[in-house]
């Protein structure tokens, strides 16, 4: 599969897909999107790279083991779930919102961090699964 067309395409698509995945993540609160699809799209970016350049080179550009992203994402989600409990004594998973409006992102609240956690978990899980399968193939 190491054709010139695929390599060139993946070079351009990798940053575009990553950017798109972040866009999908931020869009997800009121519109279709969110952490799950965002994570999948981010994983697709690297899977495409692995098809074009081979698994070794993809591992080099990711640098960390994708399995590490799973506990990281879970920790972020967990933090957003217990933040209201720790900060204000409210029941777990109550939405906390930072007052005011931010450019591009909109309002920032604990729901965003929950979704970010989901993003990392899905990203890590799908890369781990696909890398493991293609290593043994």
């Amino acid at each position: 599969m190491k054709t010139l067309i695929l390599r060139t395409a993946s070079d351009i698509l990798l940053p575009v897909l990553l950017l798109f995945s972040v866009f999908i993540l931020f869009r997800g609160h009121y519109l279709p999107g969110g952490g799950f699809v965002g994570g999948l799209i981010a994983a697709i970016a690297f899977v495409l790279h692995a098809f074009a350049y081979g698994l070794k080179n993809t591992r080099k550009i990711i640098k960390i083991h994708p399995g590490f992203l799973m506990p990281l994402g879970l920790l972020i989600s967990f933090g957003s779930a217990i933040a209201p409990l720790v900060a204000e004594g409210l029941p777990i998973m109550t939405g906390l919102w930072v007052p005011g409006h931010f450019p591009v992102i909109g309002k920032i609240g604990s729901a965003l961090f929950f979704d970010t956690g989901v993003y990392f978990v899905v990203f890590g899980v799908s890369l781990t699964i696909i890398f493991t399968i293609s290593e043994n193939a």
Binding site: P71, P91, I92
Partner: protein
């Protein structure tokens, strides 16, 4: 907002399972962390129990959305007791597993998944939302799939497939039942459903959904026609895993049945008769299965089925005395059944097999250990004044007064056969001379070759659980008071409904 305390057990287990994932390859750190985590969980469970005991039912609306629209966590005395028992068995099994489970298994994240399993159990006991209950069941079965198949030995995978298929099917039926009940009442909050189901005219529709729920939970807790997966799979994984499965996983099904039958479908003639019939058949099939087996762990698996029948039948009799008997039996059974499989693990470590025909003479080589084990075995049978005896008084009395003679007879038969089976285990494994042939695997480290610390790690959890069994036996008035209080609480669901919906 002190009622938030009831969600702390969930927070603790989730936190530790995440932290353990960060130490994926460092087994020594994992071992220390899991013990610390389970001690903290036990402390939290005790605090929750005391809080609910002194302040009554506590309700937390997750996300601060009011019931019946948001998901609620409800901690009543029944939940608190089960949380406490989960924490105790969880701690005992974690101590046992750090020495008995081999490193190759631990490297695949055994402890992390173990904490996820305990998270699922705690969540199932706490939730007051029926769809959320389904989600906790999913968390429980997904983590149990990992635990049962971790290591990947041949017979283990065979057991895992049987377990997986049946439990998956059970979840499917549970989901169908959820769809039916949502279609009928338009709500998923258990208290709200309990209110709205009274307004439905068609008894047939209610019975259909009730039978669907009954089928789903019967698969989970191995009630008669759907029980064959349990003895086929519970003897295959490591002893620590089958201990937590036998102590708690089948009991989640019983808990869900108790909750459903008392809260949503109370006093339904058809269901009560059905439960009695099922319990009689369950007791008979479980006890006859136990009597013909020679593998100690398989015998214990069949005894689980037999004693599930005791509890289901008490639920079918349905009065305060019978329900209190069921709850007392549940408390006794969780501790004893967990301990039985730990004992099976120790016997395996000593002899290299759990086949009764191939072992013997345990009493002469390990007299103190044998005395410890006989306490547990006698508690299981219910030799007075040990723990199995007291709940049976309530069950016998209520079934006789209620003229449920079939169930009464099945109880006698079940208790008698349990006695026979325990006598058989005792004479074969402990008194008989060691037979000539004994199978030793390569690289098998027997109990005598372990370090002293490791020996203690094997024995301590058994001793802790045995002491709790003794307390349940000798302090039976405390447990009886507790189970009567719970029974009075849950047999009149109005308190629960008012606590959740705050009229």
């Amino acid at each position: 907002m002190t009622e938030n305390i009831i969600t702390y057990p969930l927070v603790v287990h989730l936190f530790f399972s995440i932290v353990l994932m960060f130490f994926w390859q460092k087994i020594k750190v994992q071992k220390i962390l899991t013990i610390v985590g389970n001690f903290i969980a036990l402390g939290v469970a005790i605090a929750v129990f005391i809080h609910i005991w002194s302040n009554g039912t506590q309700v937390v609306n997750a996300g601060n959305w009011d019931a019946p629209f948001g998901i609620v966590f409800v901690g009543d005395m029944l939940s608190a007791t089960l949380l406490l028992l989960t924490a105790v068995s969880g701690l005992a099994v974690s101590i046992f597993s750090i020495v008995s489970v081999i490193n190759a298994r631990l490297r695949f994240g055994f402890f992390s998944v173990y904490h996820f399993l305990l998270l699922g159990l705690n969540g199932a006991f706490l939730t007051g939302d029926i769809f959320n209950l389904y989600v906790w069941f999913e968390i429980i079965i997904i983590s149990s799939f990992v635990l049962i198949s971790i290591g990947g030995e041949k017979n283990q995978l065979e057991g895992a497939i049987k377990y997986f298929t049946l439990n998956f099917f059970g979840s499917l039926i549970f989901l169908t039942a959820l769809g039916v009940i949502y279609g009928l009442t338009g709500s998923l909050n258990m208290a709200d459903i309990a209110n709205k189901i009274k307004l439905i005219d068609s008894q047939v529709l209610i019975d259909i959904s009730a039978v669907l729920f009954l089928t789903a939970f019967s698969i989970k807790s191995a009630v008669f026609p759907l029980n064959f997966w349990l003895p086929a799979s519970y003897h295959t994984p490591p002893s620590a895993v089958s201990a937590i499965f036998s102590g708690l996983l089948t009991k989640v099904g019983v808990y869900a049945l108790i909750r459903m039958m008392t809260l949503i479908f109370p006093q339904d003639e058809f269901l009560m008769n059905l439960l009695i019939v099922l319990s009689v058949l369950t007791i008979i099939s479980g006890s006859f299965g136990a009597i013909i087996q020679n593998n100690i762990r398989k015998v214990f698996s069949y005894l689980i089925i037999c004693h599930i029948g005791f509890m289901i039948g008490g639920l079918g009799v349905f009065n305060v005395l019978a329900i209190s008997g069921v709850l007392f039996y549940l408390i006794h059974d969780i501790i004893v059944k967990t301990n039985l499989f730990l004992i099976g693990g120790v016997i395996y470590r000593i002899k290299g097999t759990t086949n009764m025909k191939k072992i013997g003479d345990l009493y002469h080589s390990f007299p103190k250990l044998s005395l410890l084990i006989i306490i547990v075995l006698f508690s299981l049978v219910g030799v007075p004044p040990l723990s199995g005896f007291w709940p049976k008084i309530s069950l016998f009395l209520s079934s006789y007064n209620n003229e449920n003679y079939w169930y009464f007879g099945a109880l006698i038969l079940g208790s008698f056969i349990t006695l026979v089976v325990v006598a058989k285990i005792w004479s074969e494994a402990f008194w008989k001379k060691q037979p000539e042939f004994s199978i030793r695997k390569k690289k098998f480290i027997s109990f005598g070759q372990l370090y002293t610390l490791q020996k203690w790690q094997f024995i301590t959890p058994i001793a802790i659980l045995a002491i709790i069994s003794l307390y349940i036996g000798f302090g039976a008035d405390h447990i009886q008071t507790l189970s009567l209080k719970i029974a009075e609480d849950i047999i009149d669901p109005q308190n629960y409904i008012d606590a959740v919906l705050k009229p």
